[in-house]
Amino acid sequence: MDDIKSKLEKIDALRKSIERISQLSKEKKSWKSQNHKQVNIEEVITGKYFSTPFGSSFVRENYFYPDYKCGEIELGQIFRVSPKIISHLVRDDRFNEIDINHTAFLDTETTGLAGGTGTYIFLVGVGYFEGNQFCVRQYFMRDYHEERALFSTLNDLLGNFKAVVTYNGKRFDLPLLESRYIISGINMIFRDSYHFDLLYPVRRLWKRRLENCALSTVERDILKIRRENDVPGFLIPEIYFRYLKTKDARELGPLFDHNLQDILSLVALVSKICDLVENPLSNAQCGIDIFSVGRIFDEVKNYEKSSFYYKEALKYNLSKEEILDILKLASLACKRKGNWEEAEKMWKEIIEKEKEFIYFPYEELAKYYEHRLKDYNQAEKIVKEALKRSENIHHLKNLEYRLNRIRSKQM
């Protein structure tokens, strides 16, 4: 008893000293509030324990039938997705042989977003099709010392899969998982699996019309999912810390549900993305979506298709800025596939549509007349016009240089 007392006194003295030195003025967080009731997790969440050589791990399982609807999309729709579209989007041919039944949908909840070795994963959700159902398993760490047990059981499951689908997993979930595995001293089993990170296609397809690319925004605006009683992501670490301190699990239910919904959304989102890319004309919600699909084909240098979709996009009702953007890319796609006349038409159209001076179409036209048509008079005319209108010093320099060259060729 005395021992404890002297220990406490020592800590108190140290605290005083530390406070004086560092002049801590911040409000003290009250730790371990006494009147908190301890509520075990199994009283709040139906789950079971998996035992491992490193202790046991708490897991919740949920099953869904393929006709379960996630917004407007049924989970089972994903079986109609052509693997070619995925391998095209990921640019990884291994996806050509992808089997949805060997694919894991994965999302983690963590003690922070900063990354680094002090960020822990306390909940890992893995969804997968099994038999006629979609199963979601959620592995939970009841306290820090269960980390090894968690990753050990997780390994048993992940060993079954060849591919993984995440949202921002490339930058966040997977590196963090790898890091946690290393610290736990367990060999991460599916490090070599191939990975479809949905954040990248989402950015390419919808960035222009979404407020941001957070999964919750995509759910709301693209998948039309309404979440009820959801926990905002930024509160998650705090809730977990509070649970660690109080051992009161009552706040954890919504947290498990949040993670579960993320995983279901991943499945729906794969269908949504692939349907749009495969058949934009019938699946697009607006012209900009078709334009975005066009850009995806542009990136793989399929100008036939990209210029087709650009032209289709232009048929929709669009703002002036949007039209100019599309015309610019469309003109370049035409140029690259050798359809110069059409490109020329578009450059002229840009000049006509935009009252302010834009350098781009003038430069393209000048290049076209000078190098392609070798029509130096036309080239000179367009450069002179640009010189009259431009105010940018770099552009003026370039234009003058070009003009001199054209003139020397005229002679």
Binding site: R15, Q23, G112, A114, G115, T117, D143, Y144, H145, F241
Partner: protein
């Protein structure tokens, strides 16, 4: 006869010069002491070295190798250019050749040094052609290259800040490195002194802890400039036993070390000829003899002014201006590389530098070195002087004094300089405030275990404290990090921020960044109206965008430069504890230090006359820290009657200043810090205490606990101060005790003694 000797002989003939020389020291040449390569060194390595003309080792290199082979940690202390880097490059490369998996970390205090080291190492490695990969990893490393470095780098060259911020908190990404780490090299270890050093020592503790986790136990190889206690510093820094290697076997040419005191030009006012002009004259003279010269100046401003003068001189004598260059922090890396190369190739004949070139950047060895103003420590002075001195030829080092009291003392007491041992490097890794920060960082990296040893006695209590604070969570005998925050971000190893302001030249329509300045120097260098001199060109600062960290400048041609005036005030905010005694009152508490730059002077080139003022409208820089202060409770009237009238030996102002200076010499020993870590403010009548008072404050935002410690050991400090003054052999004052007479006055020493005797009675 060498060019240097010819030049010196000629110079000696001028009575005006020779009468100002206060020391003419001759340091004889030393021949090399060689030893054979040990037989266990890989043949491949010996072969490529012999292709470079290295067929044997110097004695110190050989000793270092033997100790390292035995498994000892080694600290090598030899002069500049004695082949120190081979002491670590050899064992490191040898170990990688023997085992492809071996890894090493090299730590350098600055990015510039890392870059320089990489160039040298790269040469060796490409000659070896054995697939050894070396990389620098610092803030400039592009993120695309980082992954390859983490996985494949055999030798990773970095700095303590990057280790602290970028590597340790992400140790899992460095799996290969930490699993196979054989050597940790800490070069220029003497730089890690005081608070900075105490931080670095804790970063090393964290590093060792991570190594233990991955099952490696690397050996340490440290190098240091000449300081009084290299072995002790290394052992404290690393927390392990070391072997000292200092049997320098490198040859040295003979060297002249001269002290020059500019002549008095105004006897009444005691004004001496300008330091800058005198230095410029000497350098011009030596340039005429085609002697390659380095000039060290104490500030960036003097560096630029001197460069301008020398370029003017070259212009007048019809020689290319490019053979003299400036060199200082703030030049962009490419420009620095170019200057270093020019020096090595000999194209550049003179370089004017701040202490940026004091550390081991490879610029080859030059013929002559001019030190414009005493650098502040004996150790630095020798470092700078070491920049001149080829292995066989004669070289020259010359210290030219400013009128600053410390300079005047040194220049007039050469025996003191040549006889005194250089300064000690003091660190305190267990400083509570520093320690607690790093224990948090370490907890983030890996949970602490019950039985773990961090080299700290109070570890358990601190962990329990952090647990109570809710930062750590204790379960099953381990403390885990329980916060969303990233603790390393809040802990800076250095007092100066790494934030830089850029200077943009807007003279041409194409704007261009010409240099950068750290945040602390902004009020002194790039206020609106300042003349910023860069490579001898003048720029007028037109606009300072403080939040945007940019200054916009236009090239100008004016006949003056500008100098900002700063004023420091101390204000007591809260007394934490005080102990009033009969004749003295000791206190410590929270204070606010305000530094305000309010105006600048325009100073004409060459005549150095003041030709105008300008206002600076920058917000004052405020620092909240802790201070210890002592106030005298003695009836001055009594003292005056007792001493002033009878012996006329007492002056309060001198006494306070003298006592403050003594305390600056005494305190670091007892609170284990560097003299730079604390600052004093003596006030004859403190507005707060209403009495004569000396404040000593922690020169770190937030304070690091020195003030509390000073308060605790106040009696010991005063006793030590008394003993120091009494035992000092000087008559009226010197830098070892109360400071030079020119600074504290003729009555300073005596008055300080009287005060101490009165209060200690």
């Amino acid at each position: 006869m060498t060019q240097i000797e010819r030049a010196l002989q000629e110079m000696k003939k001028h009575p005006k010069i020779s009468s100002c020389l206060t020391a003419w020291e001759y340091l004889p040449s030393k021949s090399a002491v060689y030893e054979e390569f040990p037989d266990w060194i890989e043949d491949r390595l010996v072969k490529i070295l012999s292709r470079k003309g290295i067929n044997r080792l110097y004695s110190h290199q050989s000793s270092a190798l033997q100790s390292i082979r035995k498994g000892d940690n080694v600290v090598v202390v030899t002069p500049t250019a004695s082949g120190k880097t081979l002491c670590y490059n050899l064992p490191v490369l040898d170990s990688i050749l023997k085992d492809k998996e071996s890894r090493a970390i090299y730590l350098f205090p600055t990015k510039a040094l890392s870059q320089d080291q990489l160039t040298e190492l790269y040469q060796l490695v490409s000659d070896l052609d054995a697939g050894i990969r070396t990389y620098t990893y610092d803030g400039d490393t592009p993120s695309s290259a980082r992954q390859a470095i983490r996985k494949q780098g055999h030798i990773v060259i970095t700095n303590p800040d990057m280790l602290h911020l970028g590597i340790l908190p992400h140790h899992t990404k460095w799996l290969e490195l930490f699993r196979n780490l054989k050597y940790i090299v800490i070069d220029e270890i003497h730089v890690y002194r005081g608070v900075f050093g105490s931080h670095v020592a804790n970063v090393i503790r964290r590093l060792k802890r991570i190594c233990r986790f991955y099952g490696s136990s690397p050996q340490f190889i440290c190098c240091s400039a000449t300081i009084a206690n290299p072995l002790e510093l290394a052992q404290k820094m690393v927390g392990e036993r070391f072997v000292l290697v200092n049997n320098n076997g490198a040859p040295q040419g003979e060297k002249y070390f001269l002290f020059y005191n500019p002549p008095v030009i105004n006897k009444e006012l005691g004004i001496r000829k300008s330091l800058v002009k005198e230095v410029a004259r000497f350098v011009a003279y030596f340039l005429n003899y085609d002697i390659q010269t380095i000039i060290f100046s104490r500030s960036r401003l003097t560096t630029e002014v001197l460069t301008s003068y020398l370029k003017d001189f070259l212009n007048k004598t019809g020689r290319p201006k490019e053979i003299v260059r400036g060199y200082r922090g703030g030049y962009l890396p490419d420009l620095r590389r170019e200057i270093e190369k020019g020096l090595k190739s000999g194209e550049i004949k003179g370089v004017v530098s701040t202490n940026a070139l004091e550390l081991g950047i490879d610029i080859g060895q030059l013929d002559a070195c001019f030190i414009a103003g005493y650098p502040g420590t004996i150790s630095s002075t020798w470092q700078q002087a070491g920049r001149a001195g080829r292995r066989s030829d004669t070289s020259l080092a010359m210290l030219i004094a400013s009128s600053n009291p410390l300079d005047q003392f040194m220049i007039n007491h050469p025996d003191y300089f040549f006889g005194e041992s250089p300064e000690s490097g003091v660190i305190d890794p267990d400083n509570l405030s520093i320690l607690i920060n790093h224990i948090q960082c370490a907890s983030f990296e890996l949970p602490f275990e019950e039985e773990e040893d961090f080299g700290v006695k109070k570890l358990h209590e601190i962990l329990e404290y952090l647990e109570k604070e809710g930062v750590l969570h204790y379960i099953e005998k381990k403390w885990y990090w329980m916060s969303e925050t990233y603790p390393t971000e809040k802990v800076s190893l250095r007092s100066v921020s790494l934030e830089n302001f850029v200077i943009i030249d807007t003279t041409e329509p194409l704007e261009q960044v010409i240099g950068e300045v750290d945040k602390e120097s902004v009020p002194m260098m790039i206020y609106e109206g300042a003349i910023y001199i860069h490579e001898g060109e003048q720029y007028s600062i037109q606009k300072l965008d403080y939040p945007g960290k940019r200054a916009y400048a236009k090239r100008v041609k004016v006949d003056y430069y500008t100098e900002a005036q700063a004023q420091t005030d101390i204000k007591v905010l809260e007394v934490l504890e005080s102990s009033p005694e009969e004749r003295i009152e000791h206190s410590y508490g929270k204070v606010k230090i305000t530094t305000h730059t309010t105006c600048f002077k325009k100073i004409k080139f060459y005549t150095h006359e003041n030709i105008g003022f300008g206002e600076i409208s920058l917000p004052p820089e405020e620092m909240f820290t802790t201070a210890y202060w002592l106030s005298l409770n003695i009836d001055m009237g009594v003292i005056w009657r007792k001493y002033e009238i009878e012996t006329s030996s007492f002056n309060l102002g001198s006494g306070l200043l003298a006592l403050a200076n003594v305390l600056i010499n005494v305190v670091p020993i007892y609170v284990m810090c560097d003299p730079q870590d604390i600052k004093t403010v003596p006030e004859v009548r403190s507005p707060f205490m209403d009495k004569p008072t000396i404040y000593i404050y922690d020169n770190y935002s937030g304070g690091v606990g020195f003030s509390e410690k000073m308060f605790e050991i106040r009696k010991i400090l005063l006793q030590a101060a008394l003993e120091l003054i009494q035992s000092c052999g000087c008559e009226k004052g010197c830098p070892s005790c109360v400071g030079p007479i020119d600074e504290v006055g003729i009555k300073g020493k005596e008055s300080a003694l009287i005060i101490l005797k009165e209060v200690l009675d």
